[in-house]
């Protein structure tokens, strides 16, 4: 039998890093930039958060460090794709390679390949209440971050500017908006969110760092953002769907009634369900007008 409340609780935990990172990616893609640095930013966010928390004993400082790192990673993407106009695929994948490599390299220099320490991590709020027993960062994501980004994109001048530079940078420029500054801001803000998503893994879920910590979650977010058609709440929905199916399959594989189904098929379910959901709803996507296009005034 499957415990529905536990399932929802598990879904929320697994969805949280995706929610942070996908929200960050919505922000950058709305500004017209595909940030494939997402996987590396999550990874480095997880590592830097862990590192600072381990050195200072405070997960909050760890989180702060991750946010700073995310901002820096965003700025690096900005330098590459906004200032220099480098191909966004190359810049993003290169950034991911660099951030993962640099994290692992630093980890090796500092810890010499040995086992890592367990840090003082974030605790659960309402640990004994089903579903509500979540990490504070999950609450922050759902109550503060996502509504804030949604409001930002929808109802603020900054949001209007982000959308304008993502759709038609010429028009934004003609209206006196700095395309570069706006894109940098989106990248840096988005980077901070991606890093926070990664840091959630080390600072809340596991309390330590291991190699491969993000394990492709960033790539999943890229898919979720397109799935969500560049809107914040649907991205959250997509994250919950993916995490929910994942949580479900983890229960099913240990439920005797389902033992006949190949384990690998179960593990593939979250991916297949998202594809199916997209196929059921995803006709005729309209990408942001300036997606993948560098802007340079003549």
């Amino acid at each position: 039998m499957i415990d529905i409340l536990a399932l929802i609780g598990a879904m929320l935990v697994a969805a949280t890093p995706l929610i942070y990172a996908a929200t960050g990616e919505v922000l950058t893609e709305r500004a017209g930039i595909l940030n494939l640095g997402i996987e590396g930013t999550m990874y480095a966010g997880a590592f830097s958060g862990f590192l600072v928390a381990a050195k200072t004993g405070s997960p909050w400082l760890g989180l702060a460090a991750a946010l700073v790192l995310g901002v820096v990673a965003g700025a690096l993407m900005g330098l590459l794709v906004v200032t220099l106009g480098v191909n966004q695929h190359v810049a993003g994948i290169g950034t991911t390679l660099l951030l993962i490599g640099a994290s692992e390299f630093t980890n090796r220099l500092l810890y010499g390949g040995g086992a890592l320490v367990q840090i003082d991590k974030f605790g659960l709020l309402f640990p004994d209440v089903p579903v509500l027993g979540q990490y504070v960062l999950t609450y922050v994501a759902l109550i503060v971050v996502v509504p804030f980004v949604w409001w930002l994109l929808r109802a603020t001048g900054f949001g209007l500017r982000v959308r304008a530079v993502g759709e038609n940078p010429e028009a934004a420029d003609a209206a006196g908006i700095s395309v570069a500054r706006t894109r940098y801001a989106a990248l840096m803000g988005g980077g901070a969110l991606m890093a926070a998503g990664g840091a959630f893994l080390t600072l809340a879920v596991v309390g330590t760092f291991t190699l491969n910590i993000s394990n492709g979650r960033g790539w999943v977010c890229i898919a979720l953002v397109i799935f969500a058609r560049w809107r914040v709440w649907p991205a959250v929905l997509g994250a919950l769907l993916f995490a929910g199916v994942d949580a479900l399959q983890l229960q099913l594989v240990i439920t005797p009634a389902f033992s006949g189904i190949p384990r690998e098929l179960m593990l593939a379910l979250p991916y297949l369900v998202v594809i199916a959901a997209l196929a059921a709803s995803g006709r005729g996507l309209v990408y942001p007008g300036a997606y993948l296009k560098p802007y340079r005034r003549a």
Partner: protein, 332 residues
């Protein structure tokens, strides 16, 4: 610079005979497919590092060689240029490459983690035969569960992992015939968040003692105030209230055996698995942590200690079963 660079003994006591012993000290090379942060290769690395620290060997290593042809290249480079006395490493996923190079350099001793047979004249194989402590850990788990449901989270259902999990199940059932074991494989060596999630799914299905073959599981147990069992290193510090014990694999005896053979000029390719057995000190159960919540019943501890003695004396051998365990073991 971390663990990089050549590591030789540097104890002041060794200073007197330094001149003689450095030339006599054999060069041992570690060649690992995964990064040494991965526990499996990490155990080999640490054992060799310890030997170097003791002043027995000069130790160098290369890790994260991968599975795309780098192993053969690196081994040939090592063999041809560094001419070490021994090369340790893991051959999983690079079996053919390791065997080819070993054949081409018969003067060098190759000792590799492998699921296959040794190869004459110079390739020895070993594996993490920690099914003995796994059996004992199973007894502890089976004896302390209240719900009669245990959870195991593993990486991949490969023989060595299956062997451990099945031994664990066997141990648990030996003390508690009603016990049921939930086994999840997360299909990755590294993803503690996923490991924790799998453990939580087991907890949701009433598991109350968890065996952490992979990272993340202890976290799940800790948060729910449940008991857990660690692996590869003593993980008590990760959860002093939760971790009853850990399965330890010590490559020390294996390393020492190989070094001795080399020193004596008697090295031949062999299966070194016995050196990992509990009775040879290659694997063990970490000191029981009676400080876990609820403690460990004394009679259970006695049973485990007795079984451990039987294992040591050879009057009991843990059954070896390398079949993939079912996701949920039925009560027989």
């Amino acid at each position: 610079g971390g663990n990089t660079g050549t590591t030789t003994a540097s104890s002041p006591a060794a200073g007197a005979s330094a001149g003689a012993s450095t030339t006599a000290k054999p060069l041992v090379y570690g060649a690992y497919a995964t990064p040494i942060e991965e526990p499996w290769d990490g155990v080999i690395h640490r054992a060799l590092q310890a030997a170097a620290d003791k002043g027995d060997i000069t130790y160098k290593h290369v890790d994260n060689i991968g599975y795309a042809g780098g192993m053969e290249r690196t081994l040939r480079d090592i063999a041809a240029n560094d001419k070490p006395a021994v090369v340790f490493g893991d051959a999983f996923g690079n079996e053919a490459a390791v065997r080819k190079v070993a054949k081409d350099f018969p003067a060098i001793a190759f000792a590799f983690g492998s699921g296959e047979k040794e190869q004459a004249p110079n390739l020895s194989v070993f594996d993490n035969w920690i099914h003995d402590p796994a059996y004992l850990a199973g007894m502890l788990a089976g004896g302390t569960t209240k719900s009669n449901v245990l959870g195991v989270v593993g990486g991949y259902p490969v023989p060595e992992v299956n062997r451990i999990v099945n031994a664990f199940i066997g141990g648990a059932q030996s003390v508690n015939p009603k016990v049921q074991v939930k086994v999840s494989f997360i299909n990755t060596w590294f993803d503690p968040a996923k490991g924790k999630q799998a453990a939580q799914a087991q907890i949701a299905q009433n598991a109350d003692v968890l065996f952490a073959e992979r990272a993340g599981v202890i976290e799940a147990a800790k948060e729910k105030g449940l008991r857990s069992i660690g692996a590869m290193a003593d993980q008590k510090s990760q959860g002093p209230d939760s971790v009853m014990t850990s399965l330890l694999w010590d490559m020390g005896p294996t390393v020492q055996a190989v070094l001795q053979q080399v020193r004596d000029g008697k090295y031949v390719g062999a299966n070194l698995k016995d050196y990992s057995f509990l009775k040879n000190g290659g694997s063990s159960l970490a000191e029981l942590n009676t400080a876990v919540k609820g403690g460990i019943p004394a009679d259970l501890m006695a049973k485990v200690t007795a079984k451990q003695a039987e294992l040591k004396s050879g009057s009991f051998t843990t059954p070896v079963d390398e079949k993939t365990p079912a996701g949920s073991t039925e009560i027989k």
